[in-house]
């Protein structure tokens, strides 16, 4: 489904292509904030937005998150199968119960890790959604601005106007990058703290003593 950014892509794309062109031809004042943003974003606003609009998409990532959560079902089924008491008594039965308990615990850890990956995709989808909304708001403002008129008509202050529009668009992209990096670093930090689980001896069932049916 098309969002606000998709709807703005046509007219905003034309404006930003002119902005890129004016910036490339005339540059900006030495102390213009656009230089710092260009160094941080490492792309011109027009080329970045043109590439972003058709590709950066929340819905496939959100769908992947939902699919990952669905994959947790078999882990719960496996845990249920393992924690169902079996009619096996004596030392071998106790060893088997200890083994199934460890395996059920490991399945629980794996299911938790899978859920964390699902949350990562949820957070990425939300970040993408927010990035597109934030950029759409900036582009809507830019399209209706006096600077846009100056750039499109090639007026005398077109260079200053182009750098003003570029600054706003690049600032939105820079904020998106900062938010995305925060998300990624948070995930790296969380994944670096695996659940503690002590080493366990291998299971032994050699001494089967009694099976009850």
């Amino acid at each position: 489904m098309a969002d606000a950014l998709d709807h703005l892509a046509g007219p905003a794309g034309e404006l930003l292509a002119r902005v890129d062109d004016v910036l490339a031809r005339f540059g900006a004042a030495e102390d213009d904030p656009v230089w710092m943003l260009l160094r941080r974003v490492r792309a011109l606003p027009g080329e970045a937005v043109a590439a972003l609009v058709p590709s950066l998409a929340a819905s496939p990532v959100a769908a992947a998150a939902a699919a990952v959560r669905e994959r947790a079902g078999p882990y719960a089924n496996a845990q249920a199968a393992l924690t169902t008491p079996v009619a096996w008594e004596g030392p071998a039965g106790e060893a088997f119960a200890a083994h199934t308990s460890r395996l059920a615990g490991d399945l629980g850890d794996a299911a938790d890790a899978l859920a964390a990956t699902g949350r990562l995709a949820d957070e990425v989808a939300a970040w993408i959604d927010h990035t597109r909304s934030r950029l759409a708001a900036v582009l809507a403002d830019a399209l209706g601005s006096a600077e846009a008129v100056a750039v499109v008509l090639g007026m005398a202050d077109a260079p200053r106007s182009a750098s003003a529009i570029a600054t706003r668009v690049l600032a939105a992209i820079d904020e998106a990058v900062t938010d995305g990096e925060t998300l990624l670093h948070r995930r790296h930090a969380a994944a670096a703290r695996p659940p503690a689980r002590g080493a366990v001896p291998p299971a032994s069932y050699e001494r089967i003593t009694r099976l009850s049916f």
Binding site: V41, A51, P60, A64, V86, W88, A92, A110, L120, L211
Partner: protein, 100 residues
């Protein structure tokens, strides 16, 4: 005779077969913004690499867990078969004793 051990073994085998089908969950790097030039694209590629890496790790983990569950099921089959064999031998001995 169907033993509860065999029933549990079959449940484990069935659950093991359902684990770890994750390969089709990657929407591709482009959806993460990987094709965007500059810093945003670099971040998109990092985010996708993180996602892809976690899926791969889950697939490896699921395969290992499925293997352990299959081994556990085999143990139950063996234990259940041993019991059935013992019960059958006992019945045969009882029959022979009754005949003599």
């Amino acid at each position: 005779m169907t033993s509860p051990l065999s029933g549990t073994a079959r449940r484990l085998e069935s659950a093991a077969a359902q684990l770890g089908v994750l390969a089709d969950l990657d929407p591709g790097a482009s959806a993460f913004g990987a094709a965007v030039p500059g810093a945003l694209g670099a971040l998109g590629r990092e985010l996708h690499a993180r996602w892809h890496g976690e899926l791969a790790e889950h697939a490896r983990s699921a395969a290992a867990l499925a293997g352990r569950m299959t081994e556990t099921a085999a143990t139950l089959h063996t234990a259940g078969g041993g019991y059935a064999g013992a019960e059958g031998s006992s019945a045969q001995r009882s029959t022979r004793a009754g005949e003599s």
